[in-house]
């Protein structure tokens, strides 16, 4: 057993932390919350230059040959910095799904472009039913000659409005789910931005007789849900890694504040009630870390880990929420103010909690896995 990061991972972590401290200050995070696109092409290009987008993809496709675990390390730092923009959508939802399910041609077409920062991708999965089940997919794909025609509505599609391509999950004509890679600017696609608690960029995407040529099918027709399940596992753990980074930052920020803020002539951090809040936060932060990295490591190694992924997301979702709530309590009034960083994390924690399955959803998986 080895619970430490490798030297290279430690370097990646440090480099990412330094880079984000400089290039992604909270002023930018705040600006991007208000920005229509939600990211700056400048920072995007710099991240690509550092090799972040291709980090975990094979060298044959222009990637860095890293593992999912390396990506988790990077995502932890991104979560710590509240990095805005379509990195998660492009790499975790888009690129990884192409890598996993795509034909050789599709991999060659998309992965190098992703690695170079030239391609933004996302996943159009959930619908107004807002569930993560195959039955929730009602968008239809009707055959027409060699092509398919897509009709329906997708919701909570992150960064769809800035994407070059969408991976769309559709109900296959003969049952099951088929995935397509669709040009995001295809005629018949329209976008409406949703306003979310985390001020991230999620869209409603309407498909009105959108043409999907046969070669745009990703993976085996009708068998798309298997890919979606794998994708959801990666996404859940990737989200956990972001949450671990955010939780760590909230803990540090809160403890620093408690040491400085004076009331009754003493730092509030000397009061036991405050100390115990902070101790509880520390336990939650460490608790999330190991259960998340266990799942990330198993995904990296290709070990089947349905239970471990579910445990990680079930736990981290709620632990991050607790950590941010206690962080607010310790900060008192100041954390409530938009100018303060605390609220950035609290809002993101809530969004992360419900994305890719909330705690109850994942506990049901755990129940099944332990034979209940």
């Amino acid at each position: 057993m080895d619970l430490s990061l490798t030297e290279e991972q430690e370097m990646l972590k440090k480099m990412a932390r330094d880079f984000l401290a400089k290039e992604c200050p909270k002023t930018l995070v705040r600006q991007m919350e208000e920005d229509e696109k939600g990211y700056t092409p400048d920072l995007w290009a710099k991240m690509a230059e550092l090799g972040w987008m291709g980090l975990a993809f094979p060298e044959a496709y222009g990637g860095g040959g890293g593992a999912f675990l390396d990506l988790a390390v990077l995502l932890e730092e991104q979560g710590r910095a509240c990095l805005p923009g379509p990195f998660f959508s492009t790499v975790v939802l888009g690129g990884y799904t192409v890598l996993d399910a795509g034909s050789e041609e599709q991999k060659k077409q998309f992965l190098p472009r992703i690695a170079q920062g030239k391609e933004i991708m996302t996943l159009a999965l959930t619908e107004p039913s807002a569930t993560y089940t195959a039955e929730g997919i009602e968008l239809t794909a009707t055959p027409e000659g060699e092509d398919f025609i897509l009709n329906g509505t997708k919701l909570f599609v992150a960064d769809a409005h800035v994407a070059n391509h969408l991976i769309v999950a559709a109900k296959a004509p003969r049952g099951g789910v088929t995935l397509f890679i669709i040009d995001a600017k295809s005629p018949g696609i329209s976008y409406t931005q949703l306003k979310t608690i985390a001020s991230d960029k999620q869209c409603e995407v309407v498909f009105d007789k959108v043409k999907a040529p046969k070669p745009s099918i990703l993976g085996a027709p009708g068998k798309g849900w298997l890919e979606v399940e794998k994708m959801l596992q990666r996404a859940a753990v990737a989200k956990c890694a972001e949450m671990v980074g955010g939780a760590q930052q909230v803990l540090e920020m809160t403890v620093d504040y408690a040491k400085q803020r004076v009331q009754f002539g003493k730092p509030i951090g000397s009061f036991q009630a405050i100390q115990h809040h902070c101790a509880n936060m520390a336990i939650d932060v460490d608790g999330c870390r190991f259960i998340t990295y266990q799942a990330a490591w198993m995904l990296s190694e290709g070990i089947s880990c349905t239970k471990e992924v579910a445990m990680a997301k079930a736990w981290t979702s709620e632990a991050y929420r607790r950590v941010t709530a206690l962080g607010h309590q310790v900060h008192g009034g100041i954390g409530f103010i938009k100018d303060h960083d605390m609220q950035l994390y609290y809002r993101r924690a809530k969004a992360a909690e419900v994305t890719y399955g909330d705690a109850e959803f994942h506990r049901e998986t755990v129940a099944r896995e332990i034979g209940l």
């Binding site: 057993m1 619970l3 405050i274 336990i283 259960i291 990295y293 079930a314 129940a367």
Partner: protein, 390 residues
């Protein structure tokens, strides 16, 4: 990172399991909850000693095997999973041995370590006193020099297993004039010494595990002193971390967890197994997740020790977390059992051997013994997060 065990460790785990299966089948023991606290069986401990599974991290010259803390954790994990009666060996293996290796004389090591390893002697832990619980450094018991020996006068309390053990580890005041923390020393005392009286206490479960131990001019030879005189407070810190960071802090009532899961699969209500009830599924899954989180907090400490790093606040974190989870487990088991949950083990119709009722009572102690959760949160905040004292 690598969350795998080595093939040798997997093999060790299989061996320990096979042994525990076989001994259970043979009737050497029955699985019980809290069996590391009140499962007294010198016979079982000797068998485990013969297998070479006590003191495994200790140097080979004393009969240890020089294995890692991870190996030790694997062994203790299985002992706890099977709920084997290992009280007799537990304090010796967990903390007295390591203390002697760090601070003891060569003589003490040669005297005690091989016997602990063979499961031949048992220790009780004499720290708490009526006036010194959380504020352990406030202890009053005196150990005053007398003709090269020490004369003990005073009282210890909550001494688990003292009525059965051979020796008691004691922290006592050796310099009453020095500041509180600077006049304390550590000793090993033979419980059969003249002047030592053990009075058992009956606890909330109706069982006898705890004791008062009185010292009335009990003479202890100088060879009973561990390490330096008046340095006891500084020596004990590491020992407390060992005491707090084992898997017993998350697995004390583990057999109840398996039993209640099994119960929900086999019990039907309104024509359906209880395990199909959504609330039960959710709650048991939640406990399963908490158990996993607690387990990693503890594995992390064994891993740190394996790396030669000393845990600091991490032991406190693991105990706070694990003990709270175990109390929730007891509560959920009671909730699922409904009215029959209240039936204790010797009652007719008691489900799951009455474990849920007993754990509901005994688990109260988890967050008190070995450092209360409040004190441990102080440790996390102070030692871990560097927060100022009031």
């Amino acid at each position: 990172m690598d969350f795998r065990f080595t093939p040798q460790q997997e093999e060790l785990r299989r061996e320990v399991r096979a042994f525990l299966e076989a001994e259970r089948k043979q009737g050497t023991y029955e699985t019980d909850i809290d069996a590391w606290i009140e499962g007294w069986s010198p016979e079982m401990s000797k068998k485990i000693g013969q297998k070479g599974w006590i003191g495994v991290t200790w140097p080979t010259q004393y009969g240890g095997r020089g294995w890692t803390y991870m190996d030790r954790l694997i062994i203790t994990e299985e002992l706890l999973r099977y709920g084997a009666p290992v009280q007799a060996q537990w304090p010796g293996d967990r903390q007295i041995g390591p203390s002697l290796i760090k601070y003891g004389t060569e003589e003490q090591r040669k005297e005690f370590l091989p016997k602990i390893i063979k499961g031949e002697i048992a220790f009780a832990l004499g720290m708490s006193e009526p006036e010194a619980g959380s504020d352990l450094a406030g202890l009053k018991i005196r150990a005053m020099g007398k003709d090269g020996d020490f004369l003990f006068n005073g009282q210890k309390v909550w001494t688990g297993g003292a009525h059965k053990a051979d020796y008691i580890y004691i922290v006592a005041r050796t310099d009453p004039d020095a500041p509180k923390h600077k006049g304390i020393s550590e000793f090993i005392v033979d419980l059969r010494s003249p002047g030592v009286t053990v009075k058992p206490l009956v606890d909330i479960t109706g069982r006898t595990h705890l004791n008062e131990v009185y010292f009335d001019n009990a003479r202890v030879p100088r060879s009973g002193l561990i390490g330096q005189i008046n340095r006891g407070w500084y020596q004990i810190i590491a020992q407390l971390d060992y005491e707090r960071s084992g898997l017993e802090r998350v697995m004390s009532n583990y057999p109840l967890f398996e039993a209640i899961q099994d119960y929900t699969r086999k019990t039907t209500r309104n024509g359906k197994p209880l395990s199909e009830d959504p609330v039960i599924r959710n709650n048991l899954a939640e406990l399963r997740v908490e158990y996993e989180v607690g387990r990693w907090l503890i594995y992390r400490i064994a891993w740190m020790l394996t790396q030669g790093k000393l845990p600091n606040y991490e032991a406190a974190e693991s105990k706070i977390f694990g003990t709270a989870y175990q109390q929730r487990l007891a509560a959920e088991a009671m909730r699922i059992l409904g009215l029959s949950g209240q039936l204790v083990e010797d009652s007719p119709r008691a489900p799951l051997k009455g474990w849920a009722a007993r754990s509901t009572m005994f688990s109260l102690a988890y967050t008190i013994m070995g450092g209360t959760s409040e004190i441990l949160r102080n440790v996390v905040a102070g030692r871990g997060l560097g927060m100022p004292s009031e």
